[in-house]
Every structure is written in structure tokens, then in C-alpha cells.
């Protein structure tokens, strides 16, 4: 049962990711990205990381992608048009892609040579309580640094928007 779900949603995730790159229209691409995120959330649930799955749904597909769609709609962005200027990319694109895939698969196989395969249902410490405990004890410094970073970003955005108005 777990394997069936895993294969289904892994396939959907990969298919949506490919679709995102292949689609011409920004809204179609954004929606495919949402498909990727939702299927990743399902994979997290399968692995026992409930809270991460919920955060994925709430933060990525619920908040960030809504903003993406909002901005695309606000700018009224149309479908991409192919220009003939990118001659270099036309010839180099495919070989570079193959190289990238080869290098990344080589790195991944090397890094995980000694790793054991994951068993579904083996990991149970993925609830909100455990994640919260880890965040506020072991990872307190990164957590606080991130929040300060976000605060700086908000202040910067406020300054930029204010400047525009003046």
C-alpha cells in the first residue's frame, strides 16, 4: 500500500516538475509547481513527517504559491514567446543538462553509498511537538537568525515600497 502511494505521488511529482519546465504559460507552470509541492507533502506523510507535510501545504502551496499566482495575474503575464537570440543556449542546453544530471547522480550515489533504504512507518518523531522541541533547543540559533533575516527583509520591503510612494 505504501509503495503504491509512493510510486503514484513520486510519478506525479516528477511529471509536474517536467510540466513546469515545459509549459509556456506562467500560470500553467506555477500550477505544476503546486502539484510538485502537494505530492512532496504526500511523500513526507508517507515517511512519517506529518508536521513537515502540513507546513509544506500551509507555507509553500498555501501562501507562497498564492502570492506567485497573484503577481502573475497582477502583471497579466502572457505566454512566453520563443526568440531566436538564444543561439548559444540552443546548442549548449541539452549537453549541459545531461552533464548536470550525470554529475548530480554521481554525487548522490557516492554520498549515499553507505545509507540504508528508508522503511515506511519507521520514523515516528515527525509530529509538531518533536519538531517544535528540536527547533527551540538544538536549532535555536539558526531559527532566531532566520527570523531576524525575515525581519530585515520586511523592513527592506517596507522601505522600498515607501520610497516608491514618495
Amino acid at each position: 500500500m505504501d509503495l503504491v502511494f509512493f510510486l503514484t505521488f513520486a510519478f506525479i511529482a516528477v511529471a509536474c516538475a517536467l510540466n513546469m519546465a515545459l509549459q509556456r504559460h506562467p500560470v500553467s507552470s506555477a500550477l505544476s509547481l503546486i502539484g510538485v509541492m502537494v505530492s512532496l507533502a504526500v511523500l513526507y506523510v508517507l515517511l512519517g513527517a506529518e508536521f513537515i507535510a502540513a507546513a509544506q501545504l500551509v507555507v509553500y502551496s498555501g501562501a507562497i504559491m498564492v502570492l506567485f499566482i497573484f503577481v502573475i495575474m497582477l502583471l497579466n503575464a502572457g505566454a512566453e514567446k520563443a526568440t531566436k537570440k538564444a543561439g548559444l543556449a540552443h546548442f549548449l542546453g541539452f549537453p549541459l543538462l545531461v552533464t548536470l544530471l550525470a554529475i548530480s547522480s554521481w554525487v548522490i550515489t557516492n554520498a549515499t553509498a553507505t545509507a540504508k533504504p528508508v522503511k515506511f512507518g519507521a520514523f515516528t518523531a515527525g509530529g509538531p511537538r518533536e519538531v517544535g522541541w528540536e527547533l527551540f533547543t538544538r536549532y535555536l540559533l539558526p531559527f532566531e537568525v532566520t527570523s531576524i533575516l525575515i525581519l530585515i527583509a520586511i523592513a527592506g520591503a517596507y522601505r522600498l515600497a515607501n520610497k516608491e510612494m514618495e
Binding site: F51, G62, V66, I69, P128
Partner: protein, 394 residues
């Protein structure tokens, strides 16, 4: 396998009931608004217009599915069903009642019992924007697009104070599982004040903030700017007809049921009664008996000639309901369901009441309320609750 079978049975029970409720809430809404405005509302299809939802369903099913020119076909088709899917999925984690034993099978009254129940609902609420945004964008209509943009901006803004308001009762129950949250609110303080988060948790501010945000999240009056009919025709669903329009309609009412259920579970003690259990067992029976008695009285003194028959029939139905609550095994199960749906029904009535009473906000007012009023208040409420919880738990 047993779990799968029980789940399928529960789904087969809840899904048709939910669809019927969605259809009949429209009838209730039309009736209540009509009576608030001193009209009678739907009256001709069936007794007191009771068959009106069925007539509406047949009309919507058999209506021509008109597709305007210049739409993006795939998204135009997908948007209403996407919206309805996100809305209906939320029902899965709502706890309707306690653990019960029916024919030897122990099961929860409710579909899924997951540890991230509330986050699931918040996630779906966030994703619910897509149905509206895509509908407005793919319709190729400037009014629809404006409605969709208003809706996405509004829902992003109001999600923040809503989540903050919901976090305060969660601090008290120390869990994200809606069933556990309800369980911590059982019992009474001093024997008569129900131990709900609203009363003994001092969450009145949180509750009010949550309810205001709930109105905005479901695009209801006074926050229905996305479909403001005097500015935007019908907003994001201007170009929709037939079943696609009905899907938007059902999604809106389903979202209403979900936000009211969440309020009930988090603030109003879920299925726990408002009066001590000694009295609570008989409250439904007494209420239904009073209703039956009133109906019988009016049937014997009819103002309109048809009332002699219709009121008598409803009187018999209500008397039967009053009797069912006294049956040994079924009674207690129905009793907890009665309290849960009673509270949800009251909140739904409140939604309709507000719709019949209040005008719509201006757009700048809408944003100001969210960011300058609700957000700080919810934040202060959360901080105070956190202090209270640390102080009293020691």
C-alpha cells in the same frame, strides 16, 4: 481491513448527508434572510418551499453549460472543481462526536483522526484561493479578474490573524489534533460553567477575531468584495453557469460549515454540552417536544388552510425525533451529535443573520481591519494566553 471498511461506510454516510446539507443551507439562508426582511422567502415548491433545493439542483443540472469565447479551457473547467475539492476535503478531519461503539465496532464519530488536523484545515483554506483565482483569471473577463485578485489579497491577509487566533486555544490544549482539543474541554468549573476555551480559557477576544476572519475567508458579507455584485457583476464566477456555478456555490457553503466546525471544536467545546450532563441528556428531547407541541397547536388553529396538514406532518416528525433521543444505545450518540451540530448550526445562523443585516466594507477598510486591528489584537491575545498557560501550568 476492518478500518478500511468502517472508513468507507463512514464516507458513504457523510458524503450524501453533506451534499444534502449544502443544498438545504441555501434554503435556510433564503428563509432566514426573507424573515429578517419581513418577506416569506421560497414558498411554492413543496410545503414552505422545502423542495426548492431539489428544484434548484434539477435546474442547475439541466441548464446549458455555457463557455464564453477566449477562456483558457483547461483552467476554466478545472477551477470550480478544484475549489470544491479543497472545500470538501476539510470535512475529513472535523470531529463530530466522541468514540462510540456501534454493533460491536468501536469508531470515532468523524472521518480521519490525524495529529495535524488543524494544520490540514489551514492548508486547505490557503489552497482554496486557487479555485477562485484561476476562475477569475481563466474567464477572460476583467470583472472576474478583479474579483479573483481581491479574493486572493483578502484571503492572504486574513489567514494571518486567523491562524494567530487559532493558536491561542491550541496552547491550552497542547495538541493540534482537533479530537484531543475537544477532549480537553470536557467537564464543568464550579459545576455549571462549561470548561470551554471560550469561557474558562478567556478566549473571547480570540473567538471574536477568529469569527471576523472566518467571514473574510469564506467571502461572506460584510467581506464579500470578491463578488460585490454592484461593482463586479458577480466577481470571479461571472462567466460560470450550470453545474460549474453550483460547484462554487457548494464550495462557499462547505467552507462556511468548516469554519463554523473549527470554531465549535476549538472555542465552544465540540460535542460537550453547555449544561451539566444530568440535564443535557434531556435537552434535545425537551426542545423537539416543544417544537412538536407548537406545531400541533398551530395545526389545530391554522392561519392558512394548508397549515392544518403540513404543520401536523412536521409535528409528528419532531415528536418522533424527540422520542429517538430517549432510545438507550442510539440516544447518547445522537445527543453528542445534537450538541455539535447545534453549535455549528447556531454559528451558521449567525453568518446568515449578519448577511441579512450588514452592508459591505470598502476595500481599504477591509485591509485596514486585517492589518491594523485584527493582527495586533490576535498577537497580544496569543502572548497573554502563552503567559497565562505558563503561569497556571506550574
Amino acid at each position: 481491513m476492518d478500518y478500511l471498511l468502517v472508513s468507507i461506510i463512514k464516507i458513504l454516510l457523510i458524503a450524501p448527508l453533506l451534499l444534502a446539507t449544502l443544498a438545504y443551507i441555501v434554503w435556510v439562508e433564503r428563509k432566514v434572510i426573507a424573515h429578517v426582511q419581513l418577506r416569506v422567502g421560497p414558498y411554492f415548491v413543496g410545503p414552505h418551499g422545502l423542495l426548492q433545493p431539489i428544484a434548484d439542483a434539477i435546474k442547475l443540472l439541466s441548464k446549458e453549460d455555457f463557455i464564453p469565447s477566449g477562456v483558457n479551457h483547461f483552467f476554466y473547467w478545472a477551477a470550480p472543481w478544484l475549489g470544491l475539492m479543497f472545500a470538501v476535503s476539510g470535512i475529513a478531519v472535523i470531529p463530530f462526536g466522541p468514540m462510540v461503539e456501534i454493533l460491536g465496532v468501536k469508531t470515532n464519530l468523524g472521518l480521519a483522526d490525524i495529529n495535524i488536523g488543524l494544520l490540514w484545515i489551514l492548508g486547505l483554506a490557503g489552497m482554496g484561493v486557487y479555485g477562485i483565482a484561476l476562475a477569475g483569471w481563466s474567464s477572460n473577463n476583467k470583472y472576474a479578474l478583479l474579483g479573483a485578485m481581491r479574493s486572493s489579497a483578502q484571503m492572504i491577509s486574513y489567514e494571518l490573524p486567523m491562524a494567530l487566533a487559532l493558536a491561542a486555544p491550541l496552547l491550552m490544549s497542547n495538541s493540534l489534533n482537533l479530537r484531543e482539543v475537544v477532549d480537553t474541554q470536557a467537564g464543568f468549573v464550579f459545576g455549571f460553567i462549561p470548561n470551554w476555551n471560550l469561557f474558562t480559557g478567556f478566549q473571547l477576544i480570540g473567538f471574536v477575531v477568529y469569527m471576523i476572519c472566518a467571514f473574510a475567508e469564506t467571502n461572506r458579507i460584510p467581506f464579500d468584495l470578491p463578488e460585490a455584485e454592484n461593482e463586479l457583476v458577480a466577481g470571479f464566477h461571472s462567466e460560470y453557469s450550470s453545474m460549474k456555478f453550483a460547484a462554487f456555490f457548494m464550495a462557499e457553503y462547505c467552507n462556511m460549515i468548516i469554519v463554523c466546525s473549527v470554531a465549535t471544536a476549538l472555542f465552544l467545546g465540540g460535542w460537550h454540552p453547555i449544561v451539566p450532563p444530568v440535564v443535557a441528556t434531556f435537552v434535545p428531547t425537551i426542545l423537539f417536544a416543544i417544537a412538536a407541541g407548537t406545531l400541533f397547536f398551530h395545526a389545530s388553529h391554522p392561519i392558512r388552510p394548508t397549515d392544518r396538514k403540513s404543520f401536523a406532518v412536521f409535528g409528528v416528525i419532531f415528536a418522533g425525533l424527540a422520542a429517538v433521543f430517549l432510545v438507550p444505545v442510539v440516544g447518547p450518540i445522537l445527543n453528542s451529535l445534537f450538541w455539535f451540530f447545534g453549535k455549528v448550526g447556531f454559528l451558521l445562523f449567525f453568518f446568515i443573520w449578519v448577511r441579512a443585516t450588514l452592508p459591505r466594507f470598502r476595500y481599504d477598510q477591509l485591509m485596514k481591519i486585517a492589518w491594523l486591528f485584527l493582527f495586533p489584537i490576535a498577537l497580544v491575545n496569543l502572548v497573554l494566553t502563552a503567559f497565562g498557560v505558563t503561569f497556571f501550568s506550574k
